[in-house]
């Protein structure tokens, strides 16, 4: 019999016979054991249910109160409705406006968490069937001891193999079902309880992301915590159009890996181009440097219409639902590969590959559904090779002269302009194009998000998006950049290395640019924010479409961010962690800091670790062009760890913010674990979720929200310097609240001393202690033998 608990192994052998010995009634007790993880989930709250962490959530929510901005004042989820909830009215089920808003947020986060978790399920099942459940997890070799920080934190056990992850994934699937059930009519009606469940959905989302990424990193030999992951090509102009081109769109890399594997096995890697849009392309470049990234989600229409892709393979998430129509227009066969995204195409899974290829090449079918990733590679490669010659010259982008002629047909009804989510001045530019000047059309290239809503609104059916692309062909010919392929996790060793620079005030904070980069100028703003903070020696992380977009802009020397800055987790590093699911490595790094520096128990100990992260780790997330439900779920996973998230102006459509009140001093109390006393720490970090109207506002917020109560004086002083400098440069004034962030004279930034002292005096400032901060009851570390002097 073997018994394992937290620290001890009890071994009892009644009878054993080996070559060396025969043992009877042996009892061994071992005090410590290394290299073997106990199989039993451990910790104070392993695998928490939707209500387990309610107390922690309420602590956060009492400081960062939900501020609702109803995007829609009606509830139309059941047949009692529509119910008007405005003006304090209740719905037929009794629901209030606040509860309805948080209910919709919860629904969005459940969708997001379900998407990542289902994605993880597909990857994990495939990897287990292909590599075996005992395939070891490896995210960074000897540089990483904590392989699965989120799994350990949430589930309370340490997975060693991909098979071990199944249990964690089953837990995640179960939680999402329960959370979704809470949104049913006549279930949860208290808005704070709904918000607590939003946090829960976020936590589960990060678990799902971690499972997806660490299993694919382990199975496919992606870069493993590699700061020097290779630079790969990015942009439409990086494609060699003399070869057949395959486009993959979506997030699940498994079918796309099949394409590269088939090409490699048949020695075709050099004669085809495999290109991608969105996260699949990011993950594909982690698999092979030969793959190329075209751009983020908004590049779908322009690239397909260009006619360059010979075949389009789609998997799941953020794939345009009208993609088969677009492909049909340029006679590019479509292959759908996911049960979740079958696009109405005929299921040809069991058929011989050559038959499917023949049907696609002849045009008998315009697309197929292949539910087995293993045959996708052969069908896609063969089809691309066969249709390549036939498709030469096909494009849906009209030439310049035809744009001018078509634009002349415009009746200036302005339906397009009203349909445009960015309210671009389409009427005016079409008028100018009709008059022969397409310069104004081209000027919309950076503003257009490629949604195509203008076209479906046009009564004359003018392809307005294609007009913009046609007018911008010069610009597109220059779209050739380089991006560092996703490096995966942050190694334990890197985390140790930044401990010193952070406490010595050399690194002001960690800022993660995640999610999409949609919305006008979103791309250039995102890239300039990354560059600004890297130059200010923040650690800058990117992921998903934000990582792609950040690579689409060059500095004066012609270098992209990834060429200009190191890929290491260090001051001024710019790290592409990978695709959407790689976001788990960013929250995972914050979690590892607690386990590495303070040796806090990691397994099943969410509350204590979140309290540590919230009070000590100066990390901020920015989702500048966030649009999806997945982005909502990712953000909520950061909130539960107490990490603030900033969204762009469209983020207010997520319906509610989590705002702190700097003017309520009582909101900013913590317990000082050293003395057991309650101490005021000032509004740090001031908000948990906030929308910024402009990039300038966002940059000032990043500097401000990177402050934490535990900052050393050198650390606080450098954070204040950046906050003040950005505020002065972007707003032209000293920040009016700087007195709230100065705790003692050593916090005052050296180069702003005079102005700050004048400000402090004017605001009746008083010195405050720097505590050992916690929102929890200080326990376990209470002073032995009385209070210190």
């Amino acid at each position: 019999m073997v018994l394992l608990d937290r620290n001890t192994v009890y071994l009892e052998v009644q009878e054993v016979e080996t070559d060396a010995a025969r043992i009877k009634d042996l009892r061994v007790t071992i005090g410590g054991i290394r290299g073997l993880a106990p199989a039993v989930p451990r910790g104070p709250m392993p695998m928490p249910g939707p209500g387990t962490l309610r107390r922690w959530d309420r602590k956060l929510l009492s400081r960062y109160r939900p501020f609702y901005m109803p995007f829609c004042e009606l509830c139309c989820l059941c047949t009692f409705g529509k119910c008007d909830l405005s003006g304090g009215r209740k719905g037929a089920c009794g629901i209030t406006m606040n509860a309805q808003q948080s209910r919709i947020v919860l629904l969005a986060c459940c969708i997001g968490a379900a998407t990542h978790t289902a994605h993880a399920r597909e990857i994990l099942d495939h990897i287990v069937s292909r590599f075996g459940e005992r395939h070891p997890l490896d995210t960074g070799g000897s540089q990483i001891d904590i392989t699965a920080p989120i799994t350990r934190l949430v589930c309370g056990f340490e997975p060693q193999t991909v098979g071990d992850l199944d249990r964690a994934l089953r837990y995640a699937e179960n939680q999402i079902t329960q959370l979704l059930a809470a949104t049913h009519t006549g279930q949860e009606g208290d808005y704070l309880d709904l918000e607590s469940k939003v946090f829960h959905a976020g936590m589960v989302d990060h678990l799902g992301m971690e499972i997806a990424d660490i299993s694919q990193v382990s199975a496919y030999s992606f870069p493993r915590a590699d700061a020097d992951a290779p630079l790969v090509e990015l942009g439409m102009a990086s494609v060699d159009t003399k070869k057949p081109v395959i486009l993959v769109v979506g997030h699940n890399v498994v079918p796309s890996v099949g394409i590269l594997e088939y090409a490699r096995e048949n020695d075709l890697l050099g004669s085809i181009e495999v290109t991608g849009i969105c996260c699949t392309s990011l993950d594909l470049t982690r698999y092979s440097e030969k793959a190329k990234i075209i751009g983020p989600i908004s590049w779908q229409l322009r690239y397909i219409r260009s006619g360059i892709p010979s075949v389009v393979v789609v998997d799941e998430q953020c794939v345009r639902t009208d993609l088969p129509d677009e492909c049909r227009a340029v006679r590019a066969p479509v292959i759908a590969t996911s049960d979740k995204n079958a696009l109405g195409l005929p299921d040809r899974t069991g058929d011989p590959a050559d038959e499917i290829v023949e049907d696609l090449v002849s045009g008998r079918v315009t697309g197929v559904l292949l539910r087995d990733p293993d045959i996708v590679g052969e069908v896609a490669v063969k089809t691309a090779n066969h249709v390549f010659e036939k498709r030469k010259g096909i494009t849906a982008i009209p030439p310049g002269e035809s744009v001018t002629a078509s634009a002349g047909e415009c009746t200036h009804c302005s339906f397009c302009q009203r349909a445009c989510p960015a309210e671009l001045p389409l009427v005016e530019v079409i008028r100018e194009a009709g008059a022969g000047d397409t310069g104004a059309l081209a000027s919309l290239y950076d503003l257009c998000i490629g949604c195509g809503r203008c076209e479906s609104a046009c009564p004359r059916g003018l392809p307005l998006h294609s007009f913009i692309i046609s007018a911008s062909c010069e610009r597109i010919r220059d779209e050739k950049f380089s991006i560092r392929s996703g490096r995966g996790a942050i190694s334990d060793v890197e985390i140790r290395e930044v401990g010193g620079p952070i406490v010595l005030g050399e690194i002001p904070g960690i800022v993660a640019f995640v999610g999409c980069s949609n919305f006008p100028r979103g791309g250039s703003e995102l890239a300039s924010m990354c560059r600004e903070f890297a130059r200010r020696r923040f650690i800058v992380c990117t992921s998903g479409c934000a990582a792609i977009t950040a690579g689409q802009y060059r500095n004066d020397e012609g270098k992209t961010l990834y060429e200009e800055f190191s890929g290491k987790f260090e001051a001024g590093g710019v790290l592409n962690v990978g695709s959407c699911v790689s976001n788990a490595h960013i929250s995972g790094a914050a979690i590892k800091i607690a386990a590495i520096f303070a040796k806090r128990e990691l397994d099943g100990n969410y509350e204590e670790i979140a309290d540590y992260v919230h009070n000590r780790v100066g990390a901020v997330g920015v989702a500048w062009g966030a649009m999806s439900q997945k982005a909502a779920a990712i953000a909520s996973g950061f909130w539960r760890l107490g990490i603030p998230v900033i969204v762009g102006p469209h983020g207010s459509k997520y319906r509610r913010m989590l705002l702190g009140r700097a003017d309520h001093p009582d909101d900013w109390k913590v317990n000082d674990a050293r003395t057991g006393e309650e101490v005021c720490i000032g509004p740090v970090p001031e908000h948990l979720f906030v929308a910024a109207e402009t990039a300038e506002e966002a940059m000032v917020l990043v500097a401000k929200l990177s402050m934490r109560p535990n900052d050393t004086t050198r650390g606080r002083s450098i954070k204040c310097t950046h906050y003040i400098d950005l505020h002065r440069r972007l707003y032209g004034t000293m920040p009016g609240d700087i007195h709230l962030f100065i705790r003692n004279p050593a916090d005052v930034p050296l180069t702003f001393k005079d102005e700050i002292w004048a400000h402090l005096e004017a605001h009746g400032w008083k010195e405050q202690p720097v505590p050992d901060p916690t929102l929890l009851e200080p326990k376990g570390r209470r002073v032995k033998g009385g209070k210190p002097k």
Binding site: I23, G32, G35, E497, V503, F597, A746, T751, P788
Partner: protein, 462 residues
């Protein structure tokens, strides 16, 4: 620092600036200039004219553009509490403060300095050394109130720079000799650093002349300067009190401060030992000294070493046993600089007990290892397993082999509790409850056991 009269901005946000050769107005010092130096000197009160800036030689606007020029920077300060011992610490602030200037970068220190002025800032009006002098005086005086008077001299006349170089170098050497020769018994104050408490709440570093901070960033001199400048700051003086054990480096004052600052977690601290009551670590130590029971020796692995150390365990895993402000006998966080101290692991036998370290570390500390020992210490080239290590130590006649008993080939450290072996087998597989434990060449003792996975187990870690 904003000023209507100052031509460019000054602030910490310019610290990471880079100036390419094509964008530079000129270069001061650097590899192409034959003489360059900077120095801070503490002078008697009357000898310093506060606020005075002198330029000996042509000013910035008279120096040939695009070229590298010899340069000297002499910062003279006075103040009641200033002492020569902290000159070196203050000198490094020249680097920090000059980098605050927009369009001006400063690299290295002492007689290896290398500065660049950007053309853009020059054109904005940063055309005189006087401005750089103003920045230094303003920032030094603002940040370090213990400086009561300060004057700065910029020397650009090549002959004068060369003439004064020897004087500067001899001062650096005197300073280094003092730093190297200073013993823990020579001082009555050690320094405690609680900076890392913001992440590791129960850890305090004790910094003595012969024991650098674990992070490798703070010397006793740094501690002395920091505590003098900001007595309420995170670096504070520790009256060392009575020495309780000279060999292990246990002091009354340290024990007291450790108890207080660690919230009672740590009762006693041995400065020079990896056993019993080792100095605690946060997470950012540069290396780990760890015990290898099979050879009764101590090995060192540093943060930069990739792959498993000689005991088969990588740095990242061992660091987990070392960090977090706890005392774990046999796992000891250290700085590389401490390895240059004659007190390095003194209580455990010093280098006579050190059996393995990565080659890179060995080269960095070689000249501080007692004669004849360096080549008997194995590196990753000599041994990557305990078996190979044992053979190497025997072959080279490492002193630690003298500790091995002829019969068992090893002996427990006398200072450690006697461990009683209850079982010794070459291999013992035990299957129960779906788990297979294979004990290979393991001794099972009452207190501790080493368990290895089957070599063919895919879950086996590196």
């Amino acid at each position: 620092m904003a000023s209507d009269t100052f031509p460019v901005e000054v602030g910490l946000m310019f610290e990471g600036e880079r100036i390419r050769r094509n964008d530079m107005q000129l270069e001061l010092g650097g590899p192409k200039a034959d003489a360059k130096w900077e120095i801070v000197r503490v002078r008697p009160a009357g000898d310093v004219v506060d606020g005075e800036i002198r330029v000996l030689g042509p000013d910035l606007d008279a120096l040939a553009p695009g070229m590298s020029h010899p340069v000297g920077v002499l910062v003279e300060i006075s103040g009641e509490k200033l002492e020569e011992d902290i000159e070196g610490v203050l000198e490094r602030r020249i680097h920090e403060f000059l980098n605050y200037v927009e369009g001006f970068v400063h690299l290295n220190q002492r007689h290896e300095i290398w500065m660049r002025l950007s053309r853009r800032s020059f054109e904005k009006g940063l055309n005189s050394f006087r401005y750089l002098g103003q920045v230094l005086i303003r920032l030094f005086r603002d940040d370090l109130p213990i400086i009561e008077a300060m004057q700065v001299t910029w020397i650009s006349d090549p002959d004068t720079v060369r003439e004064m170089l020897d004087e500067a170098v001899s001062r650096y050497e005197t300073r280094d000799a003092r730093a190297r020769g200073l013993l823990d018994e020579d001082v009555d104050t050690f320094y405690g650093c609680a900076l890392c408490q913001s992440f590791a709440p129960t850890h305090v570093c004790v910094i003595t002349p012969q024991r650098y901070a674990n992070c490798g960033a703070i010397s006793w001199f740094d501690g002395r300067a920091a505590a003098g400048i900001d007595p309420k700051g995170p670096i504070f003086g520790i009256a060392k009190g009575a020495c309780l054990n000279e060999k292990t480096g246990e002091y009354e004052g340290i024990n007291e401060i450790a108890r207080k600052r660690s919230m009672g977690e740590v009762e006693r601290v041995s400065l020079y030992s990896a056993f019993e009551f080792p100095h605690t670590s946060c997470g950012c130590f540069e290396g780990i000294a760890f015990y290898i029971p099979e050879v009764d020796g101590i090995a060192v692995v540093h943060r930069g070493f990739r792959g498993p150390a000689v005991n088969g365990i990588p740095f990242s895993t061992m660091a987990d046993s070392t960090a977090g402000g706890r005392q774990v006998s046999g796992f000891h966080g250290i700085s590389i600089e401490y390895m240059r101290s004659s007190r390095f692991l003194q209580a455990d036998g010093g280098y006579g007990r050190v059996v393995w370290m990565p080659g890179e570390v060995l080269e960095r500390v070689r000249e501080y290892i007692p004669d004849g020992l360096a080549d008997r210490i194995a590196t990753e080239k000599d041994a990557l397993s305990v078996g190979e290590l044992k053979a190497f130590l025997e072959k080279t006649g490492h002193p630690v082999t003298g500790r091995w008993k002829p019969d068992s080939g090893r002996e427990q450290d006398k200072d450690r509790k006697q461990e009683k072996t209850v079982l010794r087998l070459s291999e013992l597989p035990i299957r129960a409850g779906g788990i297979t434990l294979v004990l290979k060449n393991a001794r099972i003792t009452a207190e501790r056991v080493i368990i290895e996975r089957r070599p063919d187990d895919p879950r086996r870690r590196t």
